[in-house]
Amino acid sequence: MPETDTGTATRKLIWRVAEVSKIIDETPRVKSLVLDVPGWPGHRAGQHVDVRLTAEDGYQAQRSYSAASEPESAHVMLTVERLEGGEVSSYLAANVQPGDRLELRGPIGGYFVWTVAVGGPLFLVGGGSGIVPLMAMLRHRAAAKSTIPAVLLYSARTFNDIIYRQELDGMAARNDGLRVAYTLTRRQPPGWSGGARRIDGRMLESIGLPASARPRIFICGPTSLVEAVAQSLSALGHERSLIKTERFGPTGR
């Protein structure tokens, strides 16, 4: 039995004011906001934060976002997608400028989390903006100079929708035990040698790590992808307790 933690009540997560120091255009629909957060207590890869915006008349809206940055970074990076009807995301992706301030609190969540101390091998499966917490894990792995075997299978609609592509390709080129594979579900550029369909059991088997290697598996993306991948991996013999999921729906972002 885990010990009852009676000290939790003292660790209140306070709202902190973050300042946008830099904005990176990741894809036509996706931007990363690099934030200075004075007093940030640090986070582990995979954890998320709550962001709160306040309108001129005092109206407030808050949403959760996974941190894209590694714990070793001095900044907190959020990656946001312009979504139809996405109240907070649309504003963050379209209107925010360097120097703007917003409120943030966290870190939140301690289950969909990976550190090099946890060990591997690591098998990451992401769809669309579901890459974000997985990227924090890979950035952490790189910052820690870890050679833990890792595989990322990343599904995007088109080549231009691959978020962090250059950085991922750069990480894979270091030959330190990381393999990165993409699959493009909607359109593939001429000469494309990667996947060209939705992730399925066959793709997970040929690209991923076998159940016998007992990889720690993290799946993040839209519910349909997460459900399909988690069920396929269970069917391939991966232990359910090693499969962790996080879902990015069309709402709540």
Binding site: T10, R63, T223
Partner: protein, 205 residues
């Protein structure tokens, strides 16, 4: 408390609905987002059991057929997820915890706290008083249809006045415990009680 920074030009998508029914920090959705920490279990109804325990002593157990023959209750409620979405006027059907206690011959709850256990080791802690007097049920139908597995089917707990992580999916056991202890998310920094109207999202809120 200093004034929060204003986001220039941020208007937000003000809810047209009855905002007095929205707890602080929540926004309305019309779809039904799915959030869970691992693979969705696929339980065969013939293997499904729901049981009541006092500590480690079994008090009662129901098969799916037994459970269906218990008096059924319908509820129309608003639900509030800690990730900030709320959904109004959701319709559920199932067996209230009062009915379960009665069927098990539990006239007086043996303790003041419970641990709720689900398939796949998920747990959440709830005081007994938040489960009785019509406040909670084990739900098996949503909007008239059998509850889908991604939403917790065949049966999930429904405790609509607390944040929705307390309404454990794939629920299998209610255990009376002598003292309040954290469950799965509570152990990971979420609030022990989780009242949306007091915005008790995380430990210390």
């Amino acid at each position: 408390m200093t004034q929060p920074p204003i986001s220039r030009g941020f208007r937000g998508r003000r809810s047209d609905g009855p905002t007095e029914r929205l707890p602080p920090g929540q926004h309305l959705v019309s779809d039904f987002p799915v959030l869970s920490a691992g693979p969705t279990p696929k339980t065969k109804l013939e293997d499904w059991r729901f049981s009541l325990y006092d500590g480690h002593t079994a008090l009662a157990e129901w098969s799916w057929a037994d459970f269906q023959s218990l008096p059924q209750t319908s509820l129309k409620v608003d639900i509030h997820c800690v990730t900030s979405w709320s959904k109004l006027d959701t319709h559920w059907q199932g067996v209230t915890i009062d009915t379960l206690f009665e069927a098990a011959g539990v006239s007086e709850p043996p303790t003041s706290f419970t641990m709720i256990h689900s398939e796949g080791d998920y747990t959440t802690n709830i005081p007994v008083e938040d489960l009785i007097e019509g406040k909670a049920m084990v739900a098996t139908r949503y909007e008239g249809d059998p509850l889908e597995a991604v939403h917790g089917g065949p049966a999930r707990l429904l405790v609509p006045h607390l944040y929705f992580w307390k309404s454990a999916k794939w629920v299998r056991r209610l255990q009376f415990i002598p003292d309040d202890e954290p469950g799965f998310w509570e152990e990971l920094g979420y609030h022990m009680y989780g009242d949306p109207w007091r915005e008790q999202r995380y430990a210390g809120d």
